[in-house]
Symmetry: C2
Subunit: 197 residues, 2 copies
DNA sequence: GCTTAGTGCGTACGCAAGTACATACCGGTT
DNA sequence: AACCGGTATGTACTTGCGTACGCACTAAGC
C-alpha cells in the first residue's frame, strides 16, 4: 500500500518558503495563490492541491516562523544568568547581531497586524509571545517581562518606521536597564537601589 | 464667477469620515471605493469625482487623523510641568481616560503598517510622531523621548493583541517612571532639572 | 501488462475591484 | 429664455483573484 508517493518531495516546503518571501517583500495582501506560485516556480494547480485554502497556507507559513525565529532570540536569553546578561541580550536583539533584519521585522509586523483581526493568526502571535515571556520570566517578574516585551516591539517598530537612521545603542541600553531593574510588585525590598525619584 | 457651486457641500468631508470608519472597522484592505461609498451613502461616481485615485483618498483621510488625535494627547502633555505630571499623562494615554479606544489604536496601527511600505503614508506617520516627540522633548532629553514613544506604542500594541485582558496600571506606571527618570546622556548629573520649560 | 489510487496540473467560472467616460443636472450669466 | 461650465452619477470595461473540477501522469499491486 505504498501508493501515492510524492513525485516532488519538498515542493510543499518550497511553497511555504516562497509564501514567507512574498509576505516579507509585499505584505500579507501580496500573498496570492498566483503570486506565490510564480515565486516558487510551481503551477497554480499545485498550490490548491497542497493547500486547499489560502488561509491555511498562510497560517502554515506563519507558523514555521516560530521554529525559525525562536532559537535565535531564545538562546541568548536562556543563557543569561545576571540581569546585565539579560540587558546585553535585549540590546543585541534590538539592534545587534542577533537582531532581525528589516525584512524579518516586517514579517513579524505582518503577523501582529493580521493577528489583530484574525483569531487564528492571533493564536500564532500568542505562541510567539509566550515563548518570549516564558524566557524573560525565568529571571524577571511577570510585569517587568510585559514591559520589556512592549519596549522591544516598540524599538523594532521604530526601526521599521525609520529604516535609514540607526538607533543609538546607549539609548536602547539605558532604557532596557531601567526596566530590567524595576522592583517586583509586592516585593519592594528587592535590592535595586536604582535611581527612583 | 460664482459658477460651480457644490450642490452638496460637506459631502467631501463625509466621504473622508466614512473612509476612516471603514478603515477602523476592517483595516486598510477594506477601504474600497465601493465599500466607502456604501458606508457614506453616496454613489460610486461621487467617489472618483472627489478623489480620482484611491491612494489620494486614503492619504487625505489619514491626514485628518492628525488634527483629530493631536490635541487629545498633546494637551495633557503640554500642561505637564513636573516629571510626575508627565508620567501621569503617559499612563493616562496608555490605559486611562485619554487613551485611545481599541478602534483608534487599530486605526493608528493601520497607519504604521501601511507606512512601512508606502512613503506617502510614512510622511503622515512621521508627522504624527514628530508632534509627540516635540512635546515630550520640552521636558525630557531626546533619547528618553524616543524610548517613551517606543514603549507607548508597545503598550498600545499589547492592548491590540490582548483586547480582553486589561493592563495593570502599576505595571504601566512603573515602566514609564523608570524611563522618564533616565539620566540625560552626556549630562549624568541632570538629576531633577528640566529642560527649557 | 493491465488496474488503480494517489499525485500533479491546466483551464474556466464567478466575483469584486479600480477606473474611464458619456451623460444628466444645476444655477448663475447673458 | 437660452446658454454654459462645473457638479454629480450610472454604466461598462478590464484585471486579478479564489476556487472548482476534469484530465494526465506515476508507480505499486496483481
Amino acid at each position: 500500500m505504498r501508493r501515492g508517493k510524492p513525485n516532488d518531495p519538498g515542493r510543499r516546503a518550497r511553497i511555504l518558503q516562497a509564501t514567507l518571501d512574498v509576505i516579507r517583500a509585499g505584505g500579507m495582501e501580496a500573498a496570492s495563490y498566483r503570486g506565490i506560485a510564480a515565486h516558487a516556480g510551481v503551477p497554480l494547480g499545485s498550490m490548491t492541491y497542497y493547500f486547499p485554502t489560502l488561509e491555511g497556507l498562510i497560517l502554515s507559513a506563519l507558523d514555521t516562523t516560530r521554529s525559525d525565529l525562536e532559537p535565535r532570540y531564545a538562546d541568548p536569553l536562556r543563557e543569561a544568568q545576571t540581569r546585565d546578561d539579560v540587558v546585553d541580550a535585549l540590546v543585541d536583539a534590538t539592534i545587534g547581531a542577533t537582531s532581525p533584519t528589516l525584512d524579518d521585522i516586517r514579517l513579524y509586523a505582518e503577523i501582529r497586524h493580521y493577528g489583530a483581526r484574525n483569531p487564528k493568526v492571533a493564536d500564532v502571535l500568542q505562541a510567539v509571545e509566550d515563548d518570549s515571556l516564558v524566557m524573560l520570566h525565568r529571571v524577571l517578574p511577570n510585569s517587568t517581562a510585559l514591559a520589556i516585551n512592549a519596549l522591544l516591539w516598540g524599538w523594532w517598530s521604530h526601526r521599521l518606521a525609520h529604516p535609514d537612521t540607526a538607533l543609538d545603542e546607549l539609548t536602547v541600553r539605558q532604557a532596557f536597564e531601567a526596566l530590567v531593574n524595576l522592583p517586583a510588585p509586592g516585593h519592594p525590598f528587592h535590592e535595586k537601589e536604582q535611581n527612583h525619584a
